[in-house]
Assembly symmetry: D4
Homo-oligomer: 176 residues x 8
């Protein structure tokens, strides 16, 4: 089985199509201005061949849409991104029992969205990542999905091996 | 016309009963532990003879209840109190076009609920008061109601006159 | 009855003139540099056909002017904007019993004006909105006015309906 | 199938034993003083019949132990708790591709451990919950496990139904 | 010439009485709860034989009193103490051209009153000292007064000499 | 008697020269990069005809210079400006009994220099102004000097009158 | 060679006495209230048989004493502890070229002393440890001394081995 | 003996080569983007003729490399630089008993890396310097090395003498 991002070979297209149908990550953003962060997450997820949907759906503007999306039984993991007083991750987490990853967007003070996403009250678990941390949100989603979809495990190992190689080899430090 | 808190006389009971029916403040708290702050606000509102309902209704636990309460056509002004990542004021504000006053409760860092209540995204106006500021929330509600119910204007003036008198007279400073 | 911002028709010019005379929002800014934020609030209020006056009036420079404006019996709601140690909202709130909306302007650290506007002492209620949040200040003012002027209720509903539509429809998520 | 925490009946002991063998959460705490928070998380997990191990294992004191634990193939989800400059969640996350939930413990300023757990660099995803948020850490772990172990889904629904009921019924607000 | 606090002798009672008439510090506190801090400042000022008046006078409750006090021509230096959004120091500073020392009182977050007192807009100078820093406020007032009343210079030197001696002698460190 | 900044006439050059000899403000900056802020303060002081010296003198680099300057008997008031961990204002304040005004320079986080200047330990009074607040530092210095040099009182009144006029007249608000 | 804290044997008393003479750590505290933290550091240093002197010596009160102590040629490493605006570590660092360890004491906001100790300007290096971190200050001093005094290396290894053992063995996790 | 940075003469090349072999500072950076700060530190160290190696080695990406570098017996002092949740300094400090200097890099909020580097738990001493403070990190390393390599003492004195001279002479203040 192959996947785009990190080498591999002999992909079985049928298996891939089945996979594409079998797993899904839904990314919800509170406003269109958060789209670049959403796309960064989608790009990373696509390297793992994880199907992704991006929805602009605000806890305040379109609560019905958030409600409907949060109850989509085909979504395995949610990623919710929002700035300022970021209610979206909690709004999703209160409506689903699937894992919800919260990405605070740095708009106002930074601390505002970060604290709004992290300091959730008991019973509404949100998996917060750092400010604008699209990459870690995507990787965390893949790690969660890999509990269910074992084909992702190898890809994660492939990703991490490549990630480690991006750091220079240890044999030749920069001397002067 | 009389009212309990600040003197006055010649109250017309009929008018008062009509008043009690005509105006309403709904206080929503995210958890029972916020009840003392809610009661402090109610006590202040009661001095102005403003009918108050207190509901424990969480944006996350009981969104349907929040939804139902927020659409109550008889509520003139909402007061929503919550700690940590305080989503309740915004959840109410997104569901009503009546004014919503947000009271951040000091539970975690303080800054978390304060920023969550104040830094609302555009389109979801919340009138934030200070940490645990039940008194100012109540007064602000009365000021809003007084736009519609002129009988409150005199009570506000009575309250403020009394409030000013609580400060010592200027003629006799404490000397040494 | 019609209004500019959100469609409608069959406006009765007489009714509108009467309306214009009947309601008023006064925006006070501490310095001329805050004018763009004041104008953003006025533009939003104008969509609701709410008459607005903007005054440069500092709690420190021109307290008499603040005093005079705060006692204007024709003003229904005040919006006070200021940066740094933002005393203006409180100065107005201490001189009127009409609702006062405070807008912290982001000049220094951000936290300075935000905390100065939110953390008011008991007895001086200020309805704080977020940093530079002209839009929410205007909407909050309209919500307050709508308690007294029912013609605003429809406009608020029209505004919110349009606001919700600005988010993309839920039927067609961005897929990849 | 039954489970202790939220009602149910007719449990099949064999199925339960198989379950106990099949899933595992490992809680790592940086110091013994964090044990109460770890036990709170374990208690919540035990309500879902999720087997839990608690290890005192510091990223700094016993990195080999952290390394060994992080590579335990039988652990599905990790929960890492630490205060001050909280390196433990990241240390685990860098050594496994299973999901790692980070719980900042409030010891020094609060902001120190919170920012240390949330603001992870790219490539080292940590699912941060709030300060001392043992409950949400446990629930988040169950949500992740439920992707793989469908028997947990019903328990989650049972938990949430019960959790919602803890809020008072909407029919009878507290009036005065 | 003698003074109470720091030794000295041969005081001339006449000179002292003249002095008492000639200089004055006015301490303004926003609420009675700030009285202990005001008294700590008065006690320190009394060691320098500086006459002090303490007034409870709020920028919000009793602006007329603040106005009257701020225009008292016999006050050389003002000390204004307040917590939360601390408007009092600025309110005094805007009404006088005598120096105004601001003391933020630690009530809410600490940062709120500190930033409110320090971050004054241009044209309204306030000499801020630290949170609850009654001692430094008093000493700063004496230093300012000493520009005009030279009899205070010796007392300041006496105070500082004594203050330095409170630290242990350098010859005998604590060894072990 | 005349002064440059705020009108006036019939200056007596002799009196002015005597004045120039009689009063002095010394501005100390910790590094050359703080010069623009120092010059802004000097420009404001020059409008009041207050002689000013600017010295680059660091508490750490050139403590002897700080020591010598702090003991200059001809300096009435010191202004010390510094960024980061701003030790300079305290270093001067510990070596003189003349008033020391501290100006935190915004270089790192802002909060670092602000807290370093404001939160002085007891016995070392520093009159802190806001971040980069050259103007208020200068005005505060003039207010202190005016206790000793009465010729400054009129200039202060002239300055403030002009300052107030900079705000627009109250008769003509900006309407729309 | 033996040392008290971590086992060992066959100590040569002569060598130890020579050692005691050869190395020295000086702990400076800004006020007597910091003594418990100083003693905690001394106790840890004594386990390594490192001679320690504790001096109460304030950058502001007794700069001459700080100056004299900082120039003591027999001191290898300085530890300076102070709260609020903590100038002492920098004052020592500016007067010596020996390493200076700074310990911020948590008195006011915590952030005040922490930022004052860490955010030193270029040229005045201070080795900051955490709030009240007496233990790490002592260990850091021993690590520095061990560069010069090789007899400390074994003790450090002994200390760290013992420190690691304080964590429970990995074989027996707490299960339930 | 000579050294490049601060004058001197008659260098003995043999002694210098021996020196170059005898001492070593290793700078570890968590990502390549930190290289400019690492090079600033190396440039300063090179003025003191201290051999420096720069390694990109992340506590998370390449823990084995960090482990190997931390155990290099030829490194006298480590400098570890990292942003966000900066685990690198602690990771090195936990693996060596040589002094470790931590440099928080300003990437996210600033406070995140600063608190992560400073607030180390007991037993893992890190000598923190300010945000991006390459210069102070280098100087601190030289001060530590000078305990062991006395030839550095003169260079430090030469550096500091030159550093002091960079401040303008005290005889000629800038007047106006």
């Amino acid at each position: 089985m192959s996947y785009g991002g990190f080498g591999g070979a002999d992909s079985n297209p049928y298996a891939e199509r089945r996979l594409a149908a079998a797993m899904k990550v839904a990314i919800l953003i509170g406003s269109k201005s958060d789209m670049p962060t959403a796309e960064a997450a989608r790009n990373r997820l696509s390297e793992f061949q994880v199907p992704v949907e991006i929805h602009v759906a605000s806890a305040h503007r379109t609560p019905e849409k958030v409600d409907r999306l949060a109850h989509d039984p085909e979504t395995d993991v949610f990623i919710a991104m929002a700035g300022l007083s970021a209610a979206l991750p909690g709004a999703v987490a209160a409506r689903t029992l699937r894992p919800v990853i919260g990405v605070p967007i740095h708009k106002g003070l930074g601390l505002d969205s970060l604290l709004s996403v992290v300091q959730m009250p008991p019973g509404v678990p949100v998996a917060a990542v750092g400010l604008d941390a699209a990459d870690n949100a995507a990787l965390l989603a893949v790690e969660m999905l890999a509990l269910k979809y074992p084909e992702l495990v190898d890809r994660l190992h492939g990703y991490r091996a490549k990630w480690r190689e991006e750091a220079p080899a240890s044999g030749a430090p920069e001397k002067k």
